[in-house]
Amino acid sequence: MILEWEPYVLDRGEDVPKLWEAASGSHDEVWIVVGAGFDPRCPVAVEKLSDEIAPKGVTVVEIELPSADESLREAALLNRDRVRTAAAEVHELAFPKVSGRLRAGRQLGIDLLKLLPQECLLVIDVSALPSDLFFPIIASVIASYENGAFDGDLQVAAAENPALDAAIHDEGIAEVGAIAGFINQLGYEARTERTMIWAPVVGEGAGAALRAIYDLLEPHEVTPVLPFPSRNPRRADELLLEHRDLLIDEFQIDSGSIIYASEANPFDLYRTLRRLRRDYESALAPIGGANVVLSTHSSKLLSVGALLAAYRDEMPVVAAVPDRYDFDATDAAVLEREATLSLMWLTGEPYRP
């Protein structure tokens, strides 16, 4: 079956447990995938899910993340302890030995599918997972559902907190390229020339990543996606100001190139990007068509919208993986309390005919 997510299921905050209740009722097993890292949001979904479905018990798949700096290792260990306390059973997925960081998520997705039972409620918590890892992991499960190998309910959880996002800084760029699983036709050279359109979902502090990706892709056109409407109504303006030199002087975009998508609804971005691709394909068909390439530099929630569009329409996704993170862990407990949990239901019950 081919999933289109029209309509879709999305909830947040206090309504999230209702979706878990609805989904877990028809399954004996409830699994959750988390990134075992320093991000204070790491244990949030696991603990809430465990409370909600008790006494059933949740099976946790803990993805080992690349070693953090010394200063963040303690935070990672504390998170791991909390996750294991909430779990009935734990499976560890070691970080795979691959040729490059952008290949790791694909291997993790394949490894996850080998672990999963054919039927279960599977929650993938992206709160503490980098997008270059969770993109192929989620795509693997969706592909497995569509080809009939997995017959469960997949939900994606994201604990959102813009203040925390602003407190975690990417430093250095370890690698830049297409995410394995989302290379699609970006790697093909034996094909007719197509106009390359790059649609970055812009966020704060993304300058170095945007520049690195631009240098890699050398696109014919750039159509940045800005968040609007947004909790901060001026956020789109502030992003334009922050990246003014890059977007306007170097990339030479004009105001007509900018696309807006709701900060709070990844399915709005999903629809917007699919429409963008259709429009460019149609307009440029007489000269060979277009290749729309995505990259995400914004919130986790919004990133999932881009993931779904890329998966459905086979759009390449590129990423600039940071070398390390800088995070001031003071006040983490407060920051964690302010996180809002959102949940998207992507396969299973709502989509059965």
């Binding site: 040729s99 430093e171 250095g172 760029i173 394995a180 290379i183 034996a190 002087d249 990339f251 070398d323």
Partner: protein, 663 residues
């Protein structure tokens, strides 16, 4: 017209699909890096990032050469240079150049095939697919048709008496354009889809490979026909970004490319990497015999032409430092010329707008500065008879030159005081003695000291702009962009575009600060890299702030002995010695990102060293000179301590510098 385009920043206009912009802004002197054809041995191009090897390859691609032939001016320097080399003739291009980008997916083959032999075969098959598709695309360009319709008009036929032609052709089956294209597309898709598969079943499949690079042999034993007419151009296959491959893949590929029976010209380009355990090219033999090695910008960095240029570019065409800097000025003027004329009808060239009168370098109160320097000199002389002739007013056309001369004399006096010999009689040293001890390096040291002591502009003018590029054309263009952006402000206000010394110096310092800040944003292990650079700068400042300035114009680097280098390469040593792993990573990444440059195996006294210089654009941040200057050798233990000790404070005169360097 409201000025809005900065030709140095507008990446869209410098994109590779814009032949006009590319050709008109390419510095023709860069062709002097290349040896003349026939290129019958593998030509290896190696350089630091941003030095221009990809642009050089792009110049040789068939579309560029055809464009040049079609619209080019036979009197133009680029045309002349390519014509002299035999690359471009009056009848058209002599070569069918095509470029294969090795950064596109090859390394990932290791993830779908762990066995080395099978992985090697997959590598060759994927390379073959891309060589074939690029070749067909290039042939269509010559024939004047396009994909996919034109493919049916192409056909490869065996050259008469070509050895093993039939055997080679049989690997590809049908050699019509359409069939070859379909073969290439199918091969590529099969391999790339495997690398992109998301489910276990797809990931477990196995794939056929090639024992060698059949595509190059195919091109060597066939002629290509378009509508039955031969395309009589020699194929030139250029492999770019070889450093993106895994080590074993690079070895496999260059061994294959070195084989003499390959039969067609081929190039291989890679970025220079520091601290490689073994020279990659040692697996394929000796330079000059088995392959040709061109290290771009090497002659310019060394300041001289290497003697061993057998088979390489003629010495008279060698790109010395002066010629390299002239090339940069040429590129800058070409980029900016059209826009300056459009926005302000400015007839002066971009570079000319940066030239300043020397006395501007004395700031707003030149006479006061001069007097202060003269007073300082008298104090240094201490009333001694020995130096009285050295206090006579200096010659020089400008007040600045005379001021520099005075400051230089102060340095010489301090050096003289430090000499161990004692004079029996306190007699005045002759003026000629001063002349013999004062050279351009001392004067440059004096200029640096003067600027620092009096808060004067220093990094000013075209010559400094070229040096600040640090042999990185991309960096040079970015700095030009910063200067041009300021010019645009004046132009839009209806003022002259000429830029004052003080403004230039401020912009350069801001660019230096930005480069420093970007280290943490874009370089892996950026913190370690900054620590290493900072330690070099602190050491350099200690030396340069001494009144004698022993290593005029000043220290800007350090050096590690070959023996210490070998220790650092040893993983066991790195594990045992605190700071060694951080040092190793810092050097590797700093070279990769062009923050330092390295001269390997340089003789120093009775030993050999790896000399490490700072990127010149970092020098303004630390108030260091731009000249090639000196370096101080340090043992491995000291450099490791740099990585572990807290960063030392460095006194700076500018608020932006202070903020950038504060921990």
């Amino acid at each position: 017209m409201i000025p809005s385009t900065n030709p140095f920043r507008a990446r869209a206009s410098e994109q590779l699909q814009d032949d006009f912009s590319f050709v008109h802004t390419f510095g023709p002197q860069a062709t002097h890096w290349l040896p003349d054809p026939p290129w019958d041995r593998l030509l290896v191009l190696r350089s630091a990032p941003g030095a221009g090897k990809t642009s050089l390859m792009r110049l040789m691609e068939i579309d560029t050469l055809r464009y040049l032939h079609r619209i080019g001016d036979p009197g133009d320097a680029l045309w002349v240079s390519l014509n002299e080399m035999g690359v471009l003739t009056d009848d058209g291009p002599a070569f069918l150049g095509l470029r294969v980008d090795l950064s596109k997916g090859y390394r990932s083959l290791l993830d779908i095939e762990s066995d080395h032999e099978r992985s090697r075969r997959l590598l060759f098959r994927l390379v073959d697919a891309r060589v074939v598709s690029s070749y067909l695309r290039a042939c269509l360009s010559v024939g004047g048709d396009r994909l996919p319709e034109g493919l049916e008009r192409l056909e490869l036929r065996p050259v008469e008496d070509a050895p093993a032609a039939e055997a080679v052709l049989s690997r590809f089956g049908d050699t019509t354009g359409t069939a070859l294209w379909e073969w290439a597309a199918a091969s590529e898709r099969q391999i790339l889809d495997a690398m992109d598969s998301l489910t276990p079943a797809d990931a477990a499949a196995t794939y056929e490979g090639h024992a060698g690079l059949y595509s190059l042999r195919l091109l060597a034993v066939t002629n290509v026909f378009f509508d039955g007419e031969p395309i009589e151009l020699t194929p030139l296959v250029m492999f770019d970004d070889g450093h993106a491959l895994a080590r074993e893949q690079r070895e496999d590929l260059i061994r294959e490319l070195t084989a003499r029976d390959t039969g067609i010209p081929r190039w291989y380009a890679e970025r220079y990497e520091a601290l490689e355990p073994e020279e990659l090219l040692s697996v394929i033999g000796t330079p000059g015999r088995d392959y040709e090695l061109v290290v771009l910008e090497e002659d310019a960095r060394r300041g001289s032409v290497r003697g061993d240029r057998r088979g390489r570019a003629r010495a008279d065409r060698a790109l010395t430092r002066q010629k390299y800097e002239a090339m940069l000025m040429d590129i800058a003027n070409r980029r900016a010329g059209r826009w300056l004329d459009r926005y302000s009808h400015e007839r002066r060239e971009f570079v000319e707008l940066l030239s300043v009168e020397l006395d501007e370098l004395l700031g707003d109160a030149p006479q006061r500065v001069h007097e202060a320097v003269r007073k300082q000199l008298y104090e240094a002389a201490g009333g001694e008879k020995r130096y009285e002739r050295w206090l006579e007013p200096p010659g020089g056309d400008s007040l600045y030159e005379r001021t520099i001369e005075l400051r230089a004399r102060e340095i010489i006096i301090h050096r003289d005081r430090a000499r161990s010999q004692l004079e029996l009689f306190d007699s005045a040293l002759p003026a000629e003695e001063l002349g013999s001890r004062t050279d351009s390096r001392v004067r440059e040291a004096a200029a640096v000291a003067l600027a620092k002591e009096h808060g004067l502009p220093y990094y000013v003018g075209p010559d400094d702009l070229a040096r600040l590029g640090s042999y990185n054309i991309e960096q040079f263009l970015r700095l030009c962009g910063d200067l041009f952006a300021d010019m645009l402000v004046d132009i839009s206000l209806g003022r002259s575009a000429r830029m004052s010394a003080r403004r230039q110096s401020r912009i350069v310092t801001d660019s230096s600060v930005r480069l420093w800040r970007e280290i943490n944003e874009r370089v892996p292990g950026g913190g370690h890299v900054q620590r290493f650079i900072r330690a070099i700068a602190a050491m350099a400042r200690d030396e340069n702030d001494s009144p004698r300035v022993s290593y005029a114009p000043g220290v800007t680097g350090t050096a590690l002995s070959t023996a210490d280098q070998e220790r650092l390469l040893d993983p066991g040593v790195r594990e045992e010695m605190p700071g060694a792993q951080k040092l190793f990573q810092a050097i590797v990444e700093a070279v990769r990102h062009n923050l330092i440059w390295v001269e390997d195996d340089r003789p120093v006294k009775s030993d050999r060293y790896m000399v490490i210089y700072l990127n010149r654009l970092l020098c303004p941040l630390f108030d260091l000179p731009l000249g090639r200057g000196g370096f101080r050798e340090k043992p491995l233990e000291t450099m490791c301590e740099w990585m572990e000790d807290p960063p030392r404070p460095i006194a700076t005169r500018d608020q932006a510098q202070q903020l950038a360097l504060s921990p």
